[in-house]
Amino acid sequence: MLRPLHSVAPGTRTVLGISFFVLFVAFWAWITLGGHVNRIFLADPLSMLKDGWRLLTEDRFWLDILITIWRVFGGFVLASIVAVPIGIAMGAWKPVEAFLEPFVSFARYLPASAFIPLLILWAGIGELEKLLVIFVGSVFQIILIVAVKVGSTRRDLVEAAYTLGATDNGIVKRVIMPANAPEIAETLRLVLGWAWTYVIVAELIGSSSGIGYMIINSQSRLATGQIIFGIMVIGLIGLLSDFAFKALNRWLYPWSLA
């Protein structure tokens, strides 16, 4: 029966995982098609699919999907390029950490969404503003997590490298960086998930394209089927990019799983 921490067979795991989706959709269908809630406020699964199909075939919604994906990845890649080196520097050299850590910790709590009005003033309502929202939302998080991971590099590995004649420079390049690469990649995977939240917020305000724009547009027309379809699409893309990221990490760092 149910024993604590006891593993579950792979087949059973898949069946259990899928069955919750089935239950969820069944419950949704029951309250909507069964007339337990007002159709105006919640569309049923079938009309959601119909609305979605119409969005894709008639309203060129796939263009919105593409532009949202581009914004997420653009902002995320920018943030990673800036944040990963800073995080490594903070983790490796304590004076750098002492210099930057208090500010980054503070900046991390500044809500990215609250920056949107400012960013619109600075960068307009174009693509740059969208990228900046994601950048601001991700960059400080990545810096801090990477700094913590790098700071907790196994000291015995560093010592072993020193006794093998490694220089300080060699320690950073050939011990600290490879030792933490899988964890840094894992951090990026996590933050990419958060970036999806920021992009929708950015698209809800002052935007004329993207999944978030479609959602806010549908609200004024009470098209709840479209809203739910938009949300589902985000969830699906998030799931797919997560799988892709995981597969990439497994392929890049076979030693961490061997």
């Binding site: 020193y162 490879p178 030792a179």
Partner: protein, 263 residues
């Protein structure tokens, strides 16, 4: 001239939260001749690992100095190879890449590196495992790789900090023979820290017995058993006499440690 000279080396750790400073090591003097195999034997917490780490340059002595070939030790370097008790292979490198790490840091050309690595893979009996990740190896194989990694750098002295401490008894015995066999053939100055009396005698040409904390050298026992040594030596009468003597020495120190802890 001695290969390694330890002069008045002591170590005191600062007190925790304003407490009394803790003295881990009383001033130690030790002279090690070239190609000697010295084991440092002592109860746990006697500062023997601290002494070894000071020789490695991983810790600074509070007083005194360490001279290797007449040069003062100030920081770790490739002239002092080290094998740790914990498994310290780089997990992102294969067995071969681990063994070649020091050579790569020196900037030796790849072909030369590969040749040296292959010879050390052979020496520690890891042929066929060159491309394995450390995670795929048993504890004994990991430590064999660590020994090869330290030796491939051709250090002046090899420092080992209870390298077989985490291994099971059978593996430990085989590893002792392997390391001793390498030393008998290749000759190297070795400093080997252990708390295992049998291991200390079997490996050594000289056993340094350390006292309970704060550690100091209590006795210096030459081991004149003939080489090459075979594991059957451990049951010979000469071995037993030495073992009885050292057991008595260590027992007194272990009891002191126990009393100090209960006081």
């Amino acid at each position: 001239m001695s290969k390694l000279l330890i002069e008045g080396v002591s170590r005191t750790f600062a007190g925790v939260r304003g407490g009394e400073p803790v003295r881990a090591l009383q001033p130690v003097d030790l002279s090690v001749a070239a190609n000697d195999f010295i084991t440092i034997l002592g109860p746990s917490g006697c500062g023997k690992s601290t002494l070894l780490r000071i020789v490695a340059g991983l810790e600074a002595p509070s007083t005194g100095s360490v001279l290797l070939d007449g040069k003062a030790v100030t920081r770790p370097g490739r002239d002092r190879g080290m094998v740790f008790q914990s498994y310290t292979l780089f997990p992102w490198l294969t067995v071969a890449e681990n063994i070649g790490f020091g050579l790569r840091e020196q900037g030796r050309p790849e072909r030369e590196r590969n040749e040296i690595v292959a010879s050390y893979v052979d020496l520690v009996g890891l042929k066929g495992f060159e491309n394995h990740w450390p995670k795929q190896l048993s504890g004994g194989m990991q430590q064999r790789t660590a020994i090869a990694r330290a030796l491939a750098n051709d250090p002046e002295i090899l420092l080992l900090d209870e390298p077989f401490g985490a291994l099971d008894n059978q593996t430990r015995g085989l590893m002792q023979e392997l390391l001793l066999g390498i030393w008998e053939r290749r000759k190297k100055t070795v400093l080997f820290v252990t708390h295992d009396i049998e291991e200390a005698i079997f490996m050594a040409s000289r056993v340094i017995v350390m006292s309970a904390r704060p550690g100091r050298i209590k006795s210096d026992v030459p081991v004149d058993l003939p080489h090459p040594r075979h594991y059957t030596l451990k049951t010979s009468p000469e071995f037993s006499t030495l073992k009885a003597q050292l057991t008595e020495d260590i027992r007194i120190e272990a009891m002191r440690t126990a009393q100090a802890q209960s006081a």
